[in-house]
């Protein structure tokens, strides 16, 4: 193989890679927060909402889980444009990612909610707590703690999947890679570098979630046991 490796050609582009990686993280953060909130609400509705709302949520989940993210991103981007709402690519990216991860979050959190025994809810009701209070104080916290590893995995996958938004020109890491490789003609090296950055970002995201768990789940931090 008579190939001259050109990693050094990429060196002047390190600020761009950094900016791209930073935007990837920002996209991930905002989509995660929005998606988690959406997913939680949907999970509560699926568990004990009115029949009609349950059907709507089920339909939403089935559509998201059976269509590719790429197509969802295109639909959000072009759909909003056709409605006359002009959003920049990054906003459309966040919206599509949040709606996507919201569906998966809902399923994961619902499994967590189902793992909280009915007797726990009964005990809460018998203390005079309202339906909403029972959810807030008795059901949601242990449910989320139990499915936390699954949620972490899902949001790491979200970070990796954000690469898809390069297709609508969101300026995250993969879009940067595409630009750099067409500038330098060092395609393979560019994607190797970006690959390594993504691996690093996966670790960073996992570390963030681990730290969050230590902060929020006081019982687990103090006792070291799982629920």
């Amino acid at each position: 193989m008579n190939y001259q490796w050109g990693f050094l050609d990429l060196w002047p582009y390190w600020p761009e890679f950094l900016t791209g990686a930073w935007l990837t993280l920002k996209l991930t953060l905002v989509s995660t927060v929005a998606g988690f909130t959406l997913g939680m609400l949907c999970a509560v509705v699926r568990d004990s909402g009115p029949r009609l709302a349950q059907t709507v949520v089920s339909a939403y989940i089935e559509v998201i889980r059976n269509t590719p993210l790429l197509v969802q991103v295109f639909l959000v981007y072009f759909g909003l444009a056709s409605l006359g709402i002009l959003v920049d690519a990054n906003m459309a990216a966040v919206l599509a990612l949040a709606v996507n991860v919201g569906a998966y979050t809902c399923e994961i959190v619902r499994a967590g909610i189902e793992s909280v025994k009915r007797s726990q809810r009964e005990a809460g009701e018998c203390l005079g707590l309202s339906w909403l209070q029972v959810y807030r104080h008795i059901v949601i916290a242990p449910a989320v703690e139990r499915v936390y590893p699954a949620l972490t995995g899902q949001y790491v996958m979200l970070m990796l999947a954000s690469s898809i938004t390069s297709q609508i020109s969101a300026e995250e890491l993969t879009a940067v890679a595409n630009r750099v490789q067409s500038d330098t003609f060092r395609a393979f090296e560019t994607y190797i570098v970006v690959w390594l950055i993504y691996l690093l970002l996966s670790l960073v995201v996992r570390l963030c979630f681990w730290s969050l768990a230590q902060l929020v789940f006081t019982r687990r931090r103090k006792l070291g046991t799982s629920l």
Partner: protein
């Protein structure tokens, strides 16, 4: 002494199974009523009906001025007047003992945090577990968990306390500490209804004992009635029990 709990001809079905076949009983303020009987007699179901955990299809239930059998019942109001302790304690595993006790006063009675903390302290002293304020339920023994569960219900200052076989899942040595708490509560004048297998305890502490068999009340009387059973069913029951 006024009657604060009254059951009139209560019927309840689970599917096609009739579990309560017209039971009636009443409890006056400050009284302790013990419900005994073999498994499947409907005792726990009766207790759960009193706190509106199960619905009835015939009859009336009056508790602390609430009409429990009515569709217009305000469950949250009822549950502030009635405290219930379950066989499996049902403590909230992700909260400390203190947080378990403070939760309802904070959320339902909108109590101030310091006031709730003081209340938790007082109520835990009553059950003798003040050193377990910051412990998590998984660090407690069965007997301790049950006492915390009692404290948690007491924190809401109910008029009536229900106990559903609270010592049945405990080892014998742990049962004593829970019964002690219940005895003290009775002596302090709390109105109590307990479903129990502890015959000696029922005899000592209860003003009235109700014997249920296959969904019906067979005998009602003071504790001493266990020494002189009238019906065959009670004769068979105490013959095996004591």
């Amino acid at each position: 002494m006024s009657v604060i709990v009254e059951l009139k001809n209560v019927h309840k079905r689970f599917g096609r199974d009739e579990v309560l076949r017209g039971i009636s009983m009443s409890v006056r303020r400050g009284e302790v009523l013990a419900i005994i009987g073999p498994s499947g007699s409907g005792k726990s179901t009766a207790l759960r009906c009193i706190d509106a955990l199960e619905s009835i299809h015939q009859g009336e239930i009056h508790v602390c001025g609430h009409q429990v059998h009515s569709a217009q019942l305000n469950r949250r109001q009822l549950r502030q007047d009635v405290g219930i302790v379950f066989q499996s304690y049902n403590l909230f595993p992700h909260l400390t003992v203190e947080q378990n006790i403070m939760l309802a006063p904070l959320e339902v009675k909108k109590m101030h945090k310091n006031e709730a903390r003081q209340l938790a302290y007082d109520v835990l002293s009553t059950v003798g577990l003040i050193d377990k304020l910051d412990a998590y339920p998984e660090q407690l023994s069965g007997g301790q968990s049950q006492r915390v569960a009692i404290a948690r219900s007491l924190a809401m200052k109910p008029q009536l306390m229900l106990f559903d076989e609270v010592t049945s899942s405990l080892d014998p040595q742990l049962t004593g500490e829970v019964l002690e708490v219940m005895r003290n509560l009775a002596q302090a004048g709390m109105t109590m209804i307990l479903v129990t297998h502890e015959m000696a305890f029922a005899r000592q502490v209860a003003n009235t004992v109700v014997f249920m068999h296959e969904g019906r009340v067979r005998e009602i009387g003071p504790g001493s009635m266990l020494d002189a059973p009238q019906t065959d069913e009670l004769k068979a029951f105490v013959g095996n029990g004591l």
